[in-house]
Subunit: 145 residues, 3 copies
């Protein structure tokens, strides 16, 4: 890796997209491999990647991927603390899913180093479904330095 | 769009700023058009945009913009679950607003594709005021590929 | 500053890393100076910086750094609202820390303008320890325009 910015790889790869098919109302899907594949396909070695969910009732987050109980515990806390509530006014009846989406966030920006996602040993990227089952689309923009 | 990074538009446009005048203590303002205008003005066609609120009691998030009840339901959940609390020690009495700001987050990074913000059909960008009324400043950095 | 993207500084500086040694189970450490130093060392004047924690029980957020009571109030709200819970199944017994990490988020993307972090007067960057004491690593990727 160059000691100073080289600009040799400067550029934004075309946006790629992948779909996630969920099977329950609430479900966290590990999409780390999908994201890693999109980074490899971009050809960009050093830079960053912006991940974006096009949805308002599904989010993206990074948490422990080794033990599936972690994702269950985080989504369980959300389920207990953001229940359906008579105070909600949105007529579709899925306001809890909108709250959970803003709490987790619809996008994540990660570092790309040496052609790979820079993640900690236990980290994985999750698509958090809060109003499934549905087919969700995640967009991936890799920008090289 | 090029199949490989072209570098033709490489560059960071100067940071632009826009102001949001809020009229209540808690209020979500749809700023999608302000952001879209800043992206167009940058002249950058493919890349990303970093949005940043300069404040510690106002946040930025993306959620459904079509039905205003969604923003009201999300901010209502925050109001019910982050009330003023005798346990708070910050002397200004607005600790609830600081908590809400970190839960929603002070910044959002979005994808720019073909000169436009890449958002889902129902998504809009909101400035979330938690300690108004005030005049808030949002900074916009567009970086081209 | 150029009126249009110049591309002159296009490039990603090598990823830098700094460590944070925490001394309690829950502790927020102001790392603004560490981040600012990494930005200066990158030599990049205009662009953005992606901050990333390699951990699943420590987060990054931006909030008021002037009065330490603010960080205590935010972490206090998290402690009261995400307690240890018999419903948690992750065997390590630190599921509360995983929930708090996803609520705050493991990364932050900031604007770099004129060689400096673009932050509001009261804003500072915090490493939020939720399962210490440990030594944590924060990664810094600066990308120039």
């Amino acid at each position: 890796m160059a000691e100073t910015p080289s600009g040799k790889e400067a550029g934004a790869a075309p946006v790629s997209r992948f779909e996630v098919r969920t099977s329950r109302r609430e479900e966290w899907v590990d999409v780390t491999e999908d994201v890693a594949g999109a980074v490899t396909a971009s050809g960009i070695v050093d830079g960053l990647v912006v991940l974006w969910s096009l949805h308002t009732t599904a989010a993206l987050t990074v948490n422990e991927a080794a033990d599936p109980d972690v994702a269950r515990d985080v989504s369980g806390w959300l389920a207990r603390n953001v229940p359906d509530d008579p105070a909600f006014r949105h007529a579709e009846g899925n306001s809890d899913a909108h709250v959970k989406t803003s709490l987790m966030g619809p996008g994540v920006t990660l570092i790309v180093e040496g052609g790979r996602l820079l993640l900690g040993r236990w980290q994985g990227v999750f698509l958090c479904e809060f109003d499934g089952p549905r087919t969700r689309t995640v967009c991936v923009r890799v920008v090289g330095g």
